[in-house]
Point group: C2
Chain length 501, copies 2
Amino acid sequence: MPTSADRLTALRERLAVASHLSQASALLSWDQSTHMPPGGAEARGRQMATLARLGHQHLTDPALVEMVDALESDGLEGDERALVRETRRVLDRALKMPPDLVAAMTRQRVRGRQVWERARREDDFAAFAPELRTMIGLTREQAAALNDEAPAYDVLHDLYERGSSAARVEAVFGPLRDDIVDLARAIRESDVRPDTSVLRRDFPEAAQEAFAVETVRAMGYDFERGRIDRTAHPFATTIGPGDVRITTRYQRNFLPSALFGTIHEAGHGMYNQNLPAEHADTPLGSSVSLAIHESQSRLWENLIGRSRAFWEGAYPRLQAAFPGTLDDVPLVAFVAAVNDVRPSLIRVEADEVTYHLHVMLRFELERALVEGALDVADLPGAWNEKSRELLGIEPSDDRDGCLQDVHWSWGMFGYFPTYSLGTLASVQLWEAMARDLGDLEGLVRAARFAPILEWLVEHVHRHGSRFAPEELLERATGGPLSAEPYLRYVRAKYGALYRLA
Amino acid sequence: MPTSADRLTALRERLAVASHLSQASALLSWDQSTHMPPGGAEARGRQMATLARLGHQHLTDPALVEMVDALESDGLEGDERALVRETRRVLDRALKMPPDLVAAMTRQRVRGRQVWERARREDDFAAFAPELRTMIGLTREQAAALNDEAPAYDVLHDLYERGSSAARVEAVFGPLRDDIVDLARAIRESDVRPDTSVLRRDFPEAAQEAFAVETVRAMGYDFERGRIDRTAHPFATTIGPGDVRITTRYQRNFLPSALFGTIHEAGHGMYNQNLPAEHADTPLGSSVSLAIHESQSRLWENLIGRSRAFWEGAYPRLQAAFPGTLDDVPLVAFVAAVNDVRPSLIRVEADEVTYHLHVMLRFELERALVEGALDVADLPGAWNEKSRELLGIEPSDDRDGCLQDVHWSWGMFGYFPTYSLGTLASVQLWEAMARDLGDLEGLVRAARFAPILEWLVEHVHRHGSRFAPEELLERATGGPLSAEPYLRYVRAKYGALYRLA
């Protein structure tokens, strides 16, 4: 008669197989985005579809389901209970997904991304449209399979942010939108005009890379358990415990792209590098949600990387990395330039204030696409119109418009709102950290990042999926997610930078 | 009632799953050797063990066995018959291997290689010895599981060279050894002493890489379906049809290492790039044996890459690649230098004549290790003694001795003889090609490699595993494998280079 401990051991072994398959898939995907020769593309789709199908088969094996049923009756406590609870979540989702749909989505992801990359390069939305239409159809099927009683968009959004919904996103976005629009207007009307042309000088890529590597290494991203590669659309990925990679892209004539992009991805990477090792290869050892993930990347990128305190310490090093290039730019002008607020076309290069408007645009359009209120053929027009409405500007081509992000080609609908939710959470965590650690600016100025990373490990990373996102945040900060800390932060920071009343 | 065609379709689908798993494993392995951060090592072993086990489970599924049983009764002809025959070979092997042994070997391969890499770097055989002992034990188990009536070494050697045996290897090596020893002695006693120091000048790695890439591209290695990365121990690997990668290592002060190493691996790569696409993801679409594989790498590396005709075309380009470095070295001196024959310690850098002595050394020692006649602890001493006996020189440390090759750490016993068998086959193919194409030297001099590659595709590559190695060679060359073409070739080439009687 197997004991509860026997069952837990057997459960962990089975979960490890699923985990190894998804890690192999992560490597196939990383490779596709970084090193794969063009001729590998076709087979890559088939390979990933096979691995996804086997992982799905494995998770839906009746023996595994029985094991979880039994463990739920075992009256477990603490982490063991949480492990079974998280396994049940994953199982439920897998059991509801037809294997053919899993395989079809995997194939379409690979195909869709290939076509998207070419379409983006050649500004050819028409080439991408059929792939997008196919993917929307598949995600609708997915939503129906998972929960045919809830609105499709809510079901999809919940995949990335458990417990959240379109209504919750709207509830957060409504007031946020007004306040941001007010702040952006005040900034626009101020007399301060940072000279951002200093960021568009000649910054050789090798020096950019060396500076970025040195920066994220100092922050705590561990290169013994990670690496940086170049890609078209940067991401962080976990190939295994002890192997968490980040990617970046360099623009020789635009410094912030690789610099803040690398810090951002390193923020994701540090979260993954510090997940609980004792729960590796189980759902309990995974990150809990995309908003919490984004809170980590945004905290390092914005609260630290774009702060005046950070550059008080780091600016001389940056000047030395590009000899002669920034000698005539005082610290205060550089800090103003990297915090310039103005409506722009590219989300990943948007400032902290208007960034949310990019997310709101995507949220509204992807919801309409999923619900059928917007046809794929009308997307470019709708994008441009919405861009004008929210940002006051309009892209001149689809490359800088509806083709700029990889997400939809990859079937990720309901993902974008997590960027804004995560940004709000990042400031809330920062305020809580300041209560515990005191002078955060002093630490950042001195490049003493260890206490900051330790606080994040202690309150966020090491918990994996032990607590639901909201509970995690409440335990870490003392309250539920709120936009107030973010609004306090941007008002204070940009009030000072733009000398607002 | 399923037809024979239905069964073939179902068979191909099932074989594709196994193929995708092994392609994902190939990527995990490639990544481990090229890009993986150190922290990834531990999980990498578990990931690869899981994939190997799933592949094994898949191949031993009774439904697949039944399918093959039925297809064998279907009276198929041609390629369909060959597909079923090759599938049976793979199935039989898989069915005989206990799943736990498969997983244990996969784990030990990864672990053994990690330890070997460190041991080699630090010249620490004692650190590697326990891993080697474990691996020898596992390969003995493997041999017994596959065929407990044949000698273990024969069973292992047959994994790489079907139909071959230790006795056959000895039968080839016996006379070859005497003739090589005679030729090497005559060369040593000649008055000609090529100045090999010209190969040890300063050759910046970037220029080496550019020249090697240009060279193998001209030969026909397709970079749209492949790439080159750096590694410690070069290899070629197939990540999928359309994605065949090669690796190399650069030594700034030793030109031949990367140059001929890259051509060698590209020879392997071109074979894999030209396997029959219509049989991709099946055993019929795979290369047929290691000796045939090596015949391709050796043909490009030696018959072409080290020929005077090749350098008559390529030498000005090489001189231009390293401005000023080789201006004082006439073509004839360069060709003599890259064909210098002298006993050396490192197999992969050995000349065409003494290379076989390196293989004979390993053949004798690995056979003794597998049979238990040699204990692992005594390997360094036995290696050094055998090196003195065969090559007349002895390594000063194990780095240049028994730790130099990756093979044993990876559990590959019985593999080394295929290097020599392949070298013999390469010259036999070259003679047959000359009968068909005429002036091969003229083609090589003019860098007109397309007819040569086409001949190899036609007579070797496109057949995959359609014919057994011996039949393939006989069809291509008109006779069974023989050392005579090789001996004719080296006597003529080195007779001229060293002005022998």
